[in-house]
Amino acid sequence: MIAPVDEGELAVLVAGADGPLRVRGGGSHGIGGPGEPISTARLSGITLYEPGALTMVARAGTPLAEIEAALAAEGQYLPWEPPDLRALTGATGAPTIGGVFATNTSGPRRVVAGAARDFLLGVRFIDGRGAVVRNGGRVMKNVTGVDLTRLMAGAYGTLGILTEVSFKVLPRPEAARTLALRGLDAAQAVAVMARALGSPHGVTGAAFLPERAEMLLRLEGPEAALPARVGKLAALIGPLTEAACDWAAIRDGRALAGAGDVWRLSLTPIASPAVVARLPDGARWFMDWGGGRLWVAAAPGSDLRAALGPIPGHATRITGTGGTRFHPEPPGVAALTHALREKFDPRGLFNPGMFD
């Protein structure tokens, strides 16, 4: 594995590469196809943190844990709750901030706060010719030219290797409460979650765990404000009881560890129960994002996508081998994304086969 010490060395390496490169974050078991592993582990460190401007700039290989610790010391956090999928994948390395943005992965709060990409303000990256490209910046609003910054979020390293990212952070809410409603089926649960998320009471998490027939709502805000909000929610949707809930476990899909191949679906929330009804026998599942995110563990090696047929959204395979990892794009979109990859990486160096 190659681990360049700085952006300049990485650029030279890419410019001179004569075969595929497998782009990796901080040594965690990165996904990606064939090729020489190239790691951002040594491009590490927070370069600027202005709590009063809610902005941080960090090199792409900075461990997520280091970022979260620096933010916690100032009472701030990453609002989109980046998941840690190691319980599912069995990987051991430490996730990096570059990997978080390259995969655009977001946790339960995404349903109201936005995704990782919504907080990304600027990037530096190396394109497939070895050129250093800068886009965006460190200010909150920026429409100067084409937004390559957010294009990089979710590109899984196929358009370039991120070397530095700047992003918006937020003050951590003072307090949180979880409220549960039990004895619901999937259709009832998504209906209740839709009402809760459509209310102005500040719901920041809405999950349904079928094995306990339990719908969970998270409220966050100033301690003093929460009792009144709990009362209003209960008045809107019924007798809620306070419950303990590990939202990090929901975020990371931990309930499905060891239960089979794990898939993550993005759906129109209300359609989620109909998709559940079509799951193969023996599949285990739970819902986040009010039904908009459906986690499924299916029989090893099976192609869940093929089993389900058309769905209002898309399905990504997190672990296992059945079917392609990413949902095939509609032909018009696929033509555009292929052309983009050719423009940014004309020699096809970065993670070849990732989206195929």
Binding site: E50, P51, G52, A53, L54, N104, R117, D118, D127, A131, V132, V133, N135, G137, V139, M140, K141, N142, V143, T144, G145, V146, D147, L148, R150, L151, G154, A155, Y156, T158, L159, P171, A191, A194, L197, G198, P200, G202, G221, A225, R229, K232, S266, P269, I270, G292, R293, P312, G313, H314, H327, E329, G332, V333, L336, T337, L340, K343, F344, F355
Partner: protein, 478 residues
């Protein structure tokens, strides 16, 4: 500001192109009489104007595609247009271009409150999107001051923001999907009413593409529940430093107002003369709006009051009822109109890190004095998005040139302070020739490659955003 010379071969084929458009459009309006195309010669940056070859006003996505196909086959440039409120010449035509306007495409196609989205045709105005859902307690969050007039397609093309985007984000954060017609007439559906893309997400590059990548004909927009209540406060200061420090301290304290707006003395005076909102005559004034349930509003305002008190405010005025709230916003909402009564103005849109506010405002005042021009400031302080208004006399060409030169200097200052040329208005032709202040050649080359993908022949709004000398080869090859 230069524009490429029109292609004489296209001008010579005008009647033929118009006839083909009429045949393809099946009843939708095609305008080509010289006295009628005049209405489309400019947008809100009216210093630059040029009547287009023709204008088409389709009613369906299929008609937009048909018009695009004709222009593609004829090699004619296309300028997409929403409501023409762009402040940067984004919708400025060239004489050889066909304007495709979306003003006849205003329908609501679907409202879905359980899944919290609305699907509209892209010519629908921003305010009427909220109008279609407010009875159910929802709204569409991005709220440009031009929201009564500007269209969702224009908002998407410019990635527009507004006073409330400090909390709710700008257009890109509220856009779930689009129907996009490419330059050759291909129709692509991107995204939909779910929360992310399966892989590479094209929405962020379509959002803010300034009509250069395709024509957005339909959009799926996220809608959000209206808060239980909202209340503004007005805080007056005797210095920009005190106002700037207060903004930073509020954010630092973990308070998240929905809006923090700033006005300086010249702007306050103009607004008073025009709107009589009852503003104090002071050096700097903040309007801070918070929202939530009543006790939460009260708690946030108490915290803001305590922070402001540390910066010697001249006045702290809390709206006690809806009428007082409206009066606090009245002057701010009338600011651009009020300034327009005093003089002609250029409205800049630079962004800086909030921490640099006092230095940048001081240096702006110095620069204005050097140029012998007056600058009034009214802007979104919470996110550092400045709107210096440079006052000048449009009947005096020399005055316009000096105003433009001052504007360029102020934008350079924003970039040097760690910011950028534009936070919400876009580049268009107005800031096109300043792009190299902010970007290195490789940065712009990477951006132009994205245009190569969406519009390989560079026919959509080709003379915008990128400095002409950098795009010449690509445009020439078209």
């Amino acid at each position: 500001m230069d524009m490429p010379a029109p292609d004489p071969r296209i001008l010579a084929r005008k009647a033929h192109v118009a006839a083909r458009l009429r045949a393809a459009l099946d009843g939708a309006r095609v305008i080509d009489a010289p006295q009628d195309v005049i209405a489309y010669e400019c947008d809100a940056l009216s210093a630059y104007a040029c009547p287009p070859l023709a204008v088409v006003l389709p009613e369906t996505t299929a008609q937009v595609a048909a018009a695009m196909r004709v222009c593609h086959e004829e090699g004619v440039p296309v300028v997409p247009r929403g409501s023409g409120t762009s402040l940067v010449g984004g919708a400025l035509p060239t004489a050889d271009a066909v304007v495709i306007g979306l003003s006849a495409m205003t329908a609501v196609l679907e409202t879905d409150f359980d899944n919290r989205f609305i699907r509209v045709q892209a010519g629908r105005t921003n305010l009427s999107v909220t109008g279609a859902i407010e009875a159910q307690g929802f709204f569409y969050a991005p709220d440009p001051s031009s929201q009564l007039a500007c269209a969702i397609g224009g908002n998407i093309a410019m990635n527009s923001g507004g006073a409330h985007c400090l909390k709710y984000g700008v257009t890109v954060n509220n856009l779930l999907g689009v129907t996009l017609v490419l330059a050759d007439g291909t129709v692509v559906e991107i995204g939909g009413p779910w929360m992310d893309a399966p892989g590479i997400d094209l929405l962020p590059v379509i959002c803010g593409s300034e009509g250069q990548f395709g024509i957005v004909t339909e959009a799926v927009l996220r809608i959000v529940p209206r808060p239980e209540g909202a209340r503004p406060v007005l805080v007056a200061f005797d210095s920009a430093e005190a106002a700037g420090a207060t903004v930073s301290a509020i954010i630092r304290a973990g308070l998240l107002p929905v809006a923090v707006e700033y006005m300086d003395r010249p702007c306050i005076r103009a607004c008073e003369a025009h709107a009589r909102a009852g503003y104090p005559d002071c050096e700097a004034m903040l309007i801070i709006e918070v929202e939530g349930a009543e006790p939460e509003i009260a708690a946030q305002i108490a915290a803001i009051r305590a922070i402001a008190a540390r910066h010697a405010p001249l006045e702290f005025r809390e709206a006690r009822d809806a009428d007082e709230a409206a009066r606090i916003w009245l002057g701010r909402k009338a600011a651009f109109g009020a300034m327009g009564r005093i003089a002609d103005y250029i409205c800049l849109d630079g962004v800086i890190p909030v921490s640099a506010l006092p230095q940048v405002l001081a240096r702006t005042a110095q620069l204005a004095a050097e140029y012998g021009l007056e600058v009034a400031n009214v802007f979104h302080a919470g996110d550092g998005n400045l709107h210096p208004l440079i006052l000048f006399n449009a009947n005096d060409p020399d005055d316009l040139h000096r105003a433009e030169a001052l504007g360029a200097d102020i934008l350079r200052l924003c970039v040097e302070a760690g910011g950028c040329l534009t936070g919400e208005h876009g580049v268009g032709v107005e800031k096109r020739d300043l792009m190299e202040v902010q970007f290195a050649p490789a940065d712009l080359e990477a951006q132009m490659r994205v245009k190569d993908v969406f519009d390989p022949h560079w026919r959509l709004n080709p003379a915008k955003v990128f400095p002409l000398h950098l795009s010449a080869a690509r445009r020439g090859a078209a």
